[in-house]
Amino acid sequence: MHTVPLWTLNKGQRAAIRGFADVLPDSYRQRLTEMGFHGGEIVTCLLRPAFGAPRVYRVSNTVYSLDEDVAAHVMMQPLEAGA
């Protein structure tokens, strides 16, 4: 299964959550899960602001901004357009 970090998704790209990297602290996983970032959930990258600013993602009907510290360790399986 081909997985990529959430941070690398392009604007408009959709992907399914496949897990968290081991280096991500448990407290971070807990908060992500509580917010809806759990296995199988579809995430859409809405915005990639310039200068390395945190990126904007949609999960369910909620929009979140994640810093690279977190988004680089959420592993995603990219979905084909229209999937």
Binding site: P25, Y28, Q30, R31, E34, N61, D67
Partner: protein
Amino acid sequence: MNRRVMLVGSPNCGKTLLFNRLTGLKQKVANFPGITIELAHGPMPAIPGVTLTDYPGSYSLRALSADETVAVEQFHAGLASPEVSHVVCVIDVTRMEKSLYLTLQVIRHARRKGKHVIVVANMMDVLDSHNVELDLDGLAGELDAPVVPLSARTGRGMPELLDRLREDPPRQVPEPAPAPEIRIEINPELLIQQQAHRLAGKYGPRGDMLVRSQNRMDAFFLHSWFGGLAFFAIMYLLFQSIFTGAAPAMDAVEAGLGAIAGWLVPLIGPGMAADFTSDAIFSGVGAFLVFVPQIFVLTLIVGLLEDSGYMARAALICHRPLRFFGLTGKSFIPMLSGVACAIPGVYAARAIDSPRRRRLTYMAIPLMPCSARLPVYALLIAAFIPQTTAMAGLVGMQGLAMFALYFFGLLFGLLVAGLASRRDAEADADVPFILEMPAYRMPALMPLVQKSAHRCMHFVTKAGGVILSVTVVVWILGYFPNGGTDLGTSWLAGIGRIIEPVFAPLGLDWRYGVAILTSFLAREVFVGTLGTIFGIEFAEQNMVPLVERIHSSGMDLASGAALLVFFSVALMCVSTMAILARESGSWKLPAKMFAVYGMAGYVGAIIVYQGISLLPG
């Protein structure tokens, strides 16, 4: 027996707006030392004898930080109270899954304590505007709890909620916690997560229509160029509001106190009592009451930015550069406020959810070039920097010096935060930067006005005593033993002469030492004290004679530059220290900052003095 109702919900679910509707804005807010959570209590006029308690918004009952731990402990304490009859759990129907996770946890814990839960499906007006209908009866059946469709904004559904709260709750037998062997096999949090996901999928709104308009606005406000311009425009307005918008009210406070003193003091008659009333009480009270308008204006504007949804976008824009210094995007507004005055800046830091980054922000704020430093900078620059220009008159040397001092303060504050963050042992126990981007909304003004008034009252009641005490001590030292006729022969001057060797390495004599001592009340007092010592009235308004006396006193450029460095770095404001102690929960942090910044300022001043003195000519 009076009844209590608990109001809980996830962040940005509209819970506080509902609280204000149910209590009619009559509330008391309980603060907890060292953390920023608040519990608001208010009677419900529609149901006499019932008090509503608003708990801090939370994504879950599993705490990650000290703030969240206190919030969760308070929640469990509330559930255990026999006075509590109902738990009202608010969900945002437009973003159902994140709300349902907490709701399912709340229902589980409430049932164990035999408490009745009412689920409020808030923001129905948003669904109505998109012609979206939900099967809330089905949801109520699955939750085994009544679900009341409601809009806290429009008031729709309020009568039904009140009817349910008027009813005596059905008798519920507390459910036992699962046996330990079952808990080992089944992870209850995982079950709740799966159930929240399933229920949101089954009963929540479908499609992305609810976030489309938000996405369009985000495309502008987070655009690389337009977003940056909008950000600077909004921050400029905020800064202007704190710096100049609050100025008339601050002047009015000063003038009002002056008028009261002018009326009262002559009634007392000449003598020590009148001097004490005039100089210690009114000057002392005035020294901190003058900050109240700034605190009010800043709290109001920060509230408007939060409620409108823009604050989350501003935090996103600032996060990357500030992260390098161990701070967060939410540190920006407190630090910007600190450029006007550290006190409202410290209050604004409440918006930072990470306790660690909030503490780092506290450390940076007092180093921002606040307005109290301005008179000191203006005096010393006028005394030692020539009024010459460079680059064909485009750059004035005095303006350049002022800019350099402001830039130094900002940079030094960031560097201190950056250094402290790298030495911080709690780095791993931090709250991650995962920021919910709330929908853009029109803020409700009255609750924000009330919140701002409450914040001002908190400042007056909590910091006022400390500030007044220090003012009285300094007044006594300056008044005795000669009855205030000559500051030069007072106990304060005596102390100044004793500590003169401390200031000698900066080329300063006892007079400047006394002025520095008194400036610990507030930095700008330095100018007035020097005026008193040199016998110049209204030195703050007219600095020219004071500049001449400084020159004739033998003070040179090296000493002036050393003083500028000292004032830029040292924490010399008892009001800021008092409010830092209140907000951080102890005097440990402000005491440490006072010692470290004071020593750093002193050593830096010596280096600058000795360095300039070594220069030829």
